[in-house]
């Protein structure tokens, strides 16, 4: 990757958590951290977006007059607006662990809200 052949005193721009083992060399640890962030962004982000759309599709017909098909369409249309910040978060936060937590915790909340609503109603 880039840093492998970019020696020098100038720090590379990348998520800040990674630590490099030597001067300019990318450590295995850093590569794994990036891979973990990518996985968090793709899988965690998808999970969050899906759960957000599920909740929207469930609650919109209760709040407004709309058929369930329309609510499903709207929830799918808007789901990518949840996916995007999730991906950005994964690369902006300080560690890969935070990336995962930052997506899994809201996902769990959304899942719990939806589950409770289904269970109660």
């Amino acid at each position: 990757m880039d840093a492998a052949m970019a020696p020098g005193p100038v720090p590379e721009k990348r998520p800040r958590a990674p630590k490099k083992s030597g001067a300019g060399e990318v450590s295995m640890r850093w590569r794994l951290a990036v891979a973990s962030r990518v996985l968090a962004a793709v899988i965690g982000g998808y999970l969050l977006a899906s759960l957000a759309s599920v909740c929207l599709a469930y609650f919109l017909p209760l709040l407004f007059q709309s058929s369930r098909a329309e609510a499903a369409v709207l929830s799918m249309t808007l789901s990518f607006l949840f996916y995007l910040p999730a991906v950005l978060w994964c690369f902006a936060c300080r560690t890969a662990l935070r990336a995962w937590l930052g997506l899994l915790v809201p996902s769990a909340v959304l899942g719990a809200v939806y589950g409770c609503a289904r269970w109660l109603v």
């Binding site: 100038v10 599920v54 799918m76 789901s79 991906v87």
Partner: protein, 548 residues
Amino acid sequence: MKEGFRQAMAWLHTWAGLVFGWLLFAIFLTGTLSYFKEEITQWTQPEIVPHEVSDAVAAERGQQWLQANAPDAKRWFIRLPDERNPDIALTYSPANGGFERKSLDSVSGQPVQGRESMGGEFFYRFHFQLQMPHPWGRWLASVAAMVMFVALISGIITHKKIFKEFFTFRPRKGQRTWLDGHNAVAVLILPFHLMITYSSLVIFMTMVMPASILTTYGSNTSAFFDDLFPAFKSAPPVSETAPLASIVPMLEVAAQKWDGARVGLITVNNPGKANATVALGSNGADHIPHEPGTSLVFNGVTGELTQQSSMTAASLLLAGGMYGLHMGHFAGTLLRWLYFFAGIGGTAMIATGLVIWLGKRRLKHAKSGVLPFELKLVEMLNVASMSGLMLAVVSFFWANRMLPVSLAARSDWEVKTFFCIWGLALLHAFGRVFFRDGRTAWREQLILAAALYCLLPVLDMLTAGSYLWGSIRQGQWTLAALDLTALATGIFLAWGAFRFRGEGQSVIASKLTPTGSSRKQDSRQTLTGGSELAREGVSEGTTVQEAR
């Protein structure tokens, strides 16, 4: 904290853009061509001459042909001719499954004896299916769209002085010029980029984001589509037969109900059976939102209007509006060209981004003059994905005119030519980049592409000149416009090839003149942050010294 965030976004923009840049370039280029899908098809099938025919006559002819030739099909689709589609396009699903297509001449009502070619449909299909088996191509294209969305937004966040830099263009300064161009073309048509990217996600949302359908409808997902598009719902055929009513009176009903808006697609379910239905869909050119659910359904035997549905709910208009904006069916000639140039702008943004990525890293190796393996790999892919694809596109048009009209599986051979030329371009790029230098690869491919594009009008005149002159005499400029566009493209590529004249990298480096004023200008560049600038300034300086 704020600077750190911006730097993280710059990193994300850089790497997301690199990894998916080549694929996105291909999607954007073929997608841009798809705005002229029908016009390209007219060029590849010049035998089909446009005529003015009323919808009623065309529908009548379509119905007659299908009744005679596909009486036991499960479903018929008749697409009526309009200003961009000269033929009556028939599609039907025979009893044994699958779909058959036939194109009828709108005057004679007989199948057209045109050369077999996919035409614009090929580029259109490629830009979201990527010539991969269903549904993997659509998935990959959707993933690429999401990456594009991420790259766009992270690029905007990275870009601090979006308004000021919009007016900053410093030509003939190598890396600076590329960056200025990248920023300018990105900001100039930013609404287009955002629209086209988000809408591409919306178009396939029921495939890629189906969770809410599953939780709302359970496993019975077809109920969702039946709710949305009642006209597409079809009952299984009954065994009793009954003659199909004429479609023409139904068109008159549609003209009243829709206040003159035209009918585009006619769907006949279970033709010839007692439970036949006819659904009329509106012509997409008459409204911006994509409204597959707006339809009138008639009893196929009595001809009575039984059901009318429209898509007026806000959520359907939002999704359908994005869909419609992406497809641009509503666009007239001027707007269609704007779409085309915006698409070229998007393609150019991706191309300049890829060039910048490599150019920046190349500067670090200017002293030794030897690129490491991974940079050579990127350069090879840059050449093959950009100039190689341009070659592949023009070879498709050449194949259309060169292949014998009677060749078996002719349209497959056109597609094969496209991919063979693309593959050869990749091989050539590999050989040149790894065993000589990248500039030679660019130059040679661009020269060949420029020649092929410039000579396409000549080829058209030699092989299909009668159609060309005939169409111009009729006042139809479609064929001539495609030839002229090819010529303009060829001239542009020739200019590109000219810029790559000479050997080595000294040409670009010698363009950098670190005088006082340009230094000052350079310090305005903030896309990559100050530290990057410092390093780049240093390496640029050394390159220039070396060039001297």
